[in-house]
């Protein structure tokens, strides 16, 4: 029983990272209507930037904030420079552009910082939380930060004018233009915010999986899976999906025989696909009912 509880908590803790990633994924999806495959690499690159600043002697919090800000600006720049020219290209072509971005970021990171793993500090420490052996303080910190981000984003999108404008630009770009919203810049903003959320996710998980250029692939995939499970139209659902995927992955790894690290992903995906069979738009997603 204690093992189950422990694995559950551990699952929630890793799930927090997938949830953060899923949040970034859904945010960008709502803004641009497709998935950004390079999201993980952007997060990885941001984490490396933070690491570099720490190496240069900056305190953790300065590096953290600077990385988030730089990521935001980077996201905006990438959208305006790289993706604006192909805005009207077919979706599959834009997909290939994402793949290209993935290659560029991954390869550059490897060249600048090489592929040896590095340690990344955590502001939360790694002591067991409350002395209990369920989760560590860092894991609790991950969960807390993810939920806090979700809360802030919710307030932003529901409660602010800019948030309303962004939602409008994503939902109906033509109508948004007709009320004077600069749709192009809303898109760029969406990218920037998504990059910033990704950076936070990256800096939270680096202490756990150790920093190296390929660290985010698995996280991104689980994040996607979580987002899809929760439903791509629902940020809250994405976060819930992320947590769920973390738990499923951990429990599967612990309690099903033959399941090594790689098979865990497959099992998680198979379970998610099974769920999608029953609810094709994700657990919390709303099927878009359009009149003919």
């Amino acid at each position: 029983m204690e093992l189950l509880l422990q694995q559950l908590m551990a699952g929630l803790a890793t799930g927090a990272i997938y949830a953060a990633m899923a949040l970034a994924v859904v945010m960008i999806y709502q803004a641009i209507d497709h998935l950004n495959f390079a999201q993980g690499e952007m997060a990885m690159f941001s984490t490396f930037l933070a690491w570099q600043m720490i190496q240069w002697g900056q305190p953790y919090w300065v590096a953290f904030v600077a990385a988030v800000v730089l990521s935001f600006l980077g996201g905006v720049a990438i959208e305006r420079v790289l993706f604006k020219p192909i805005h009207n290209a077919p979706i599959l072509s834009q997909l290939v552009a994402f793949i290209a971005l993935y290659g560029i970021l991954n390869s550059s990171a490897g060249e600048i910082w090489d592929f040896t793993i590095k340690t990344f500090p955590t502001p939360f420490g790694s002591a067991p939380l409350f002395g209990q052996n369920l989760i560590s303080t860092h894991q609790a910190g991950m969960i807390g930060v993810t939920l806090a981000m979700l809360g802030l984003l919710y307030l932003f999108f529901r409660g602010s004018r800019l948030g309303l404008a962004m939602r409008a630009a994503a939902a109906n770009p033509d109508s948004a233009r007709l009320v004077g919203i600069r749709v192009g810049w809303m898109l760029a903003l969406g990218w920037g915010m998504s990059a910033a959320v990704g950076a936070v996710a990256g800096m939270l998980i680096a202490p756990v999986v150790f920093l190296e250029p390929n660290m985010m692939l698995g996280v991104l995939l689980y994040g996607f899976a979580g987002a899809v499970l929760g439903g791509l139209s629902s940020p809250g659902g994405a976060v819930a999906g992320g947590f769920a995927v973390g738990v499923i992955e951990n429990l599967a790894g612990t309690f099903i025989p033959y399941v090594g690290r790689e098979l865990k992903l497959t099992i998680a995906l198979v379970l998610i696909v099974a769920v999608l069979m029953v609810r094709p738009s994700g657990v919390f997603g709303r099927a878009v009912v359009s009149r003919v």
Binding site: P85, L92, V96, A97, I104, S107, Y258, P280
Partner: protein, 347 residues
């Protein structure tokens, strides 16, 4: 628009010539020319280049499979590496353990992949767009795991995979093994491409494309969308599976980590670069996918991925609809120049 008298006279004089030319469209000439070049190439170049060209055709065939599903039918698949892998392993296992001749492995791989594709297509009916992408992605990640699965090792050879021998040309044929394999692949390619072209032009093809463009309208017109979608999944898997079998024979080796999600990504890149819903474009895609990563690596070992990414971006900027899209654009410009010329207007 009335045509002035002297232009009518010109038209009637040109009529007999035009009739013959009309049957031999530029398209036919291009295909004929390409086939002739293809037949001559192995005799003019080294063994290694012949081998590479064989791989180009194999990838082209695999991409055509993906094209049938994603390009013509609008079902997004990230899982075609799995079908390629199934085809490859089927061929390898049959040749290694059942001593089956290499040419019989192709129909076996094809039929098995058709069945798997069709069966996968059934639950896939419920999923759209990105959700379908995730399901196919699950298939792609599952494949290497299944191939490495401990209890299946006697069949699949586990992590080590299976090694097979390259087939020899039939007795009396004065070609090297590489050249023979090239011509064999070329023959299979031509047959399968021709079948695909026929399918696309037929009523079935139109139904398949109607489903892609407007599923609701297609269903309202009486098209059995479920049947066509699953059948297309099956055929698409068949094509990629046959390509996989040919790939196994060409490379003489199959191992689980050759058939990962990365292969699916390559196929997708090839599909886009060649041109979505373009049959000849699939070959261009195959060319790109085989050679460009090598080019990128030769530019810079450490930044190979970055160089590849930059090349991809530049290609997308220049031809957002792939090579086929560019060809269409140029053809339209060319024909509009010709039309203006015939009408006597200055260009």
């Amino acid at each position: 628009m009335t045509v002035p008298p002297q232009e009518t006279a010109l038209a009637t004089r040109e009529a007999p010539r035009a009739a013959v030319l009309a049957r031999l469209s530029p398209r036919h000439l291009a295909i004929g020319g390409a086939i002739i070049i293809a037949l001559l190439l192995p005799l003019l170049t080294t063994s290694f280049v012949t081998f590479q060209l064989t791989l180009v055709m194999i990838y082209g065939l695999a991409i055509l499979g993906l094209n049938l599903l994603t390009g013509f039918n609008g079902q997004f698949s990230l899982g075609h590496s799995a079908f390629y892998g199934i085809g490859a392993y089927t061929a390898a296992i049959l040749m290694d353990q059942a001593d089956l001749a290499y040419y019989w492995t192709l129909p076996c791989s094809g039929m098995l992949c058709f069945a798997v594709g069709f069966l996968f297509g059934l639950p896939a009916l419920r999923l759209q767009g990105l959700y379908l992408a995730l399901a196919t992605f699950a298939l792609a990640t599952a494949m290497p795991q299944i191939l490495k699965f401990h209890p299946l090792e006697p069949l699949t050879g586990g992590v080590q995979g299976i090694a097979i021998l390259k087939p020899d040309p039939p007795p009396g044929v004065p070609l090297s093994a590489d050249q023979w394999l090239y011509y064999f692949t070329l023959a299979v390619l031509l047959v399968m491409f021709a079948c695909a072209a026929n399918l696309v032009k037929s009523r079935t093809g139109r139904a398949i494309m109607a489903i892609r463009d407007h599923p609701l309208a297609a269903a309202a017109m009486g098209i059995n969308t479920a049947l066509y979608k699953t059948l297309t999944f099956g055929v698409s898997a068949l094509y990629t599976g046959v390509a996989g079998a040919l790939g196994a024979i060409a490379v003489q080796f199959v191992a689980p980590d050759s058939f990962t999600f990365l292969l699916s990504v390559s196929l997708l890149v090839g599909l886009v670069i060649g041109g979505v819903a373009s049959i000849p474009g699939s070959l261009v895609g195959g060319l790109f996918v085989l050679f460009v990563p090598n080019i990128a690596e030769s530019v810079s070992r450490g930044l190979a991925g970055a160089v590849y990414g930059v090349i991809l971006l530049l290609v997308i900027y220049v031809m957002p609809s792939g090579a086929a899209g560019l060809a269409r654009l140029l053809a339209a410009k060319f024909s509009s120049i010709r039309t203006l010329h015939i009408e006597g207007k200055s260009v």
